[in-house]
C-alpha cells in the first residue's frame, strides 16, 4: 500500500519469519545490492503504529519510479524479465528457498533494468521437494507469448493485455499446424502439455508429488527443470525484425546531416536549460533523443506505439546501461486502467500525469492530428498535463512531404493546421521560451514552459 511516496507491505506474521530469513540470505543481499531484487526492510515497530493500525509486521519497499505493466512491454523486455525470474529461481534453490510464483507481474523496470519486486514469492523449500510448482505459469505467461511473438509475429504485449495469465498450450497448438507441433520448442512447450492434459483431471494427486528419495536427487531434478526452462527461454529470444516504423522515420533519411545536427543542437540546448530530472519522449522511434536526454542525466520514459521500435530502444538502452524505459504506448489510445473494477492496474495517464519535467513531442503530433483526428487544443492540453514544466514540440506543417504522405490525398481536411494556428493555440497555454526553424524543411522546433499561475 502507498503512504505518500513510500511503499509498504503488511506481512502475515506466519510469513514474516520466512521473509526475514530469505532477506538475510547471501542471494537476497547480493540481489538487492545489484538491483535485481527490490530493497525491502522491516519497519521498526515504533513506526508501524503510525502507518497502519492492527498490523504487526510491515515491510517497506524501495519505490520504483515508473511502474509499468507486461502489456506495455516490448517482447525484449518480457524476455529480460523471464531471464531474471529464472535466474532468481535457480539461485534461490541453492540456498534452500524456492520461487513459488513466476509471472511477469512480479517484475518492474528501472530504466532498462528489470527488478523483481514480489519478495513474498520466495518461500522456504522442503529439501526433498523436487517439483517447481510455477512451471506451468512460467510457460503460460513468459515462454508461450515469447514463442508466439517469435514464430507468428504476434506482439507479446497484446497477448498479455487480453489475458493476464498468458497463453494456454492448447491455444498455441491450434496455431502451430502439424509440422511445427513436432519441432522443439513446440514439442515440449505446446504439444506434450496438450496431449497430456486429459490425464491430469481425475485426481489432484499430481499437485502433491511424492517427495524425492534424497535431497541430492530433489536438487538434481529441480535444477534440471529450471535448466530446461532456461534453454527454452533462449530458443524464444526475440529476433530484431523490421516493421513499418523501423524504416520509416529513420532520421538519416528524413533529415540531411546538417538538419539533424540543428535539431540535436536545439534539443541539447533545451536540455541544458531545463535540466529535467524526468523526461517523457512521445513517439520516440529509434530513441535518438531519449538517449540524448538520458546522457544529460535525465530519467527517460520513451513511448512509441510500435513494439518493434520500442524493443530496439530497449536493446540499445540495456546495452549502454542508460536510464531509458521504453514502453509500447500510443498516446492517443493510452493503456487503460484494467483489472478488478477497472481499478487494479492504473492507466498510463494516471501514472504519467505531472511526472515529467520535460515532455518531448518531436515530429509526432502531426501523426496524432491526422491519424486519430485529435483536436490540436486537446493535444496541447494533454502535453500540459503530462509535464510539470517544459514541453518541446517539433511542429510539422501541412506543406511537409511526410505530412502530405500520411494525409493520403485528403489535404483539405488538414490544411487549417498551419504554423500560425499552432503557435496561437500553444501560446494560449504555454509560455514560449525559444523557437527555431529547421533550415530547408517545413518543420519548426518550439520550447515551451507551463505558465505559472498568477497569484
Amino acid at each position: 500500500m502507498r503512504h505518500g511516496d513510500r511503499i509498504f507491505r503488511v506481512v502475515n506474521p506466519s510469513g514474516a519469519a520466512d521473509l526475514e530469513a530469505f532477506l538475510q540470505t547471501r542471494l537476497a543481499r547480493d540481489a538487492m545490492e545489484s538491483g535485481k531484487l527490490v530493497r525491502s526492510v522491516r519497519v521498526p515497530p515504533a513506526e508501524v503504529s503510525q502507518l497502519v493500525s492492527g498490523a504487526d509486521c510491515v515491510y517497506e519497499h524501495e519505490r520504483v519510479a515508473f511502474p509499468s505493466y507486461p502489456y506495455e512491454w516490448p517482447a525484449e523486455m518480457l524476455h529480460a524479465a523471464a531471464t531474471l525470474t529464472i535466474g532468481l529461481a535457480m539461485d534461490s534453490a541453492r540456498e534452500g528457498f524456492g520461487l513459488k510464483d513466476a509471472t511477469p507481474e512480479n517484475v518492474l523496470f528501472r530504466g532498462s533494468a528489470p527488478v523483481f519486486v514480489d519478495v513474498l514469492s520466495f518461500e522456504r523449500r522442503n529439501p526433498l521437494d523436487s517439483a517447481w510448482m510455477p512451471y506451468a505459469q512460467f510457460v503460460r505467461t513468459f515462454l508461450l507469448p515469447l514463442l508466439a511473438n517469435r514464430e507468428f509475429g504476434m506482439p507479446a504485449h497484446q497477448i498479455l493485455s487480453g489475458q493476464r495469465d498468458g497463453l494456454e498450450p492448447e491455444t498455441v497448438y491450434r496455431w502451430a499446424g502439424p509440422f511445427r507441433r513436432l519441432r522443439p520448442p513446440f514439442l515440449s512447450l505446446v504439444s506434450m502439455p496438450k496431449w497430456l492434459a486429459s490425464r491430469g483431471t481425475d485426481s489432484t494427486a499430481i499437485y502433491h508429488p511424492k517427495p524425492a528419495a534424497s535431497e541430492e536427487q530433489a536438487r538434481f531434478i529441480l535444477e534440471g527443470v529450471l535448466e530446461s526452462c532456461r534453454g527454452n527461454l533462449n530458443k524464444v529470444k526475440p529476433r530484431p525484425a523490421p516493421s513499418v516504423w523501423s524504416n520509416y522515420l529513420d532520421h538519416k533519411s528524413l533529415y540531411t546531416p546538417a538538419q539533424l545536427a540543428q535539431k540535436e543542437a536545439f534539443v541539447s540546448e533545451a536540455l541544458a536549460m531545463a535540466r529535467p530530472r524526468t523526461t517523457l519522449d512521445v513517439g520516440a522511434n529509434e530513441g535518438r533523443f531519449s538517449f540524448l536526454a538520458a546522457s544529460n542525466g535525465s530519467s527517460v520514459v520513451a513511448v512509441d506505439s510500435d513494439p518493434v521500435v520500442a524493443g530496439t530502444i530497449w536493446r540499445e538502452a540495456s546495452g549502454r546501461r542508460l536510464d531509458v524505459l521504453p514502453l509500447v504506448v500510443d498516446l492517443t489510445r493510452p493503456t487503460p486502467a484494467i483489472g478488478w473494477k477497472n481499478e487494479e492496474n492504473a492507466s498510463f495517464l494516471d501514472r504519467a500525469r505531472g511526472r515529467f519535467d520535460l515532455v518531448l513531442m518531436l515530429a509526432v503530433i502531426h501523426h496524432m492530428l491526422v491519424r486519430e483526428r485529435i483536436p490540436l487544443e486537446d493535444l496541447l492540453d494533454l502535453a500540459g498535463e503530462l509535464s510539470r514544466d517544459y514541453v518541446l514540440i517539433e511542429f510539422v506543417a501541412p506543406e511537409d512531404p511526410m505530412f502530405q504522405r500520411i494525409v493520403r490525398g485528403r489535404e483539405e481536411l488538414y490544411s487549417h493546421l498551419t504554423k500560425a494556428r499552432f503557435e496561437a493555440s500553444a501560446t494560449e497555454r504555454f509560455e514560449l521560451v525559444r523557437s527555431a526553424r529547421i533550415d530547408g524543411l517545413y518543420r519548426w522546433l518550439y520550447l515551451f514552459r507551463r505558465r505559472r499561475a498568477a497569484t
Binding site: P169, S188, M192, Q217
Partner: protein
C-alpha cells in the same frame, strides 16, 4: 529434450554416454506408453497439461539420476 544430447555424446566418455542416452529415451517413453488410455474429459481444467508434463519430466530426471549413479559405480568398478 532438456540437457544437450550432443554434449553428452561429444565428450570422451562416449560409450558410457551412449548407454545413458538410450536408457534415458526408453525411460521417457515407457511411462507414456504404459499410461492408461485417457478418458474423454468433458471438462479439462486449463493449465493441467503443462503441469503433468513437468511432473513426467521430473520423474524422468529422477530416473536418470539413479541411472547416472548406477553407471558411475559400474564404470568406476571396471577401472
Amino acid at each position: 529434450m532438456g540437457i544437450g544430447l550432443l554434449e553428452l555424446i561429444m565428450n570422451k566418455h562416449a560409450p558410457r554416454n551412449l548407454a545413458i542416452v538410450t536408457l534415458r529415451t526408453l525411460l521417457l517413453l515407457l511411462p507414456l506408453m504404459l499410461a492408461t488410455p485417457s478418458k474423454a474429459a468433458a471438462y479439462a481444467d486449463p493449465g493441467t497439461g503443462a503441469f503433468v508434463y513437468q511432473a513426467a519430466y521430473a520423474a524422468f530426471l529422477g530416473g536418470t539420476f539413479y541411472l547416472r549413479k548406477l553407471l558411475d559405480r559400474f564404470w568406476s568398478r571396471r577401472k
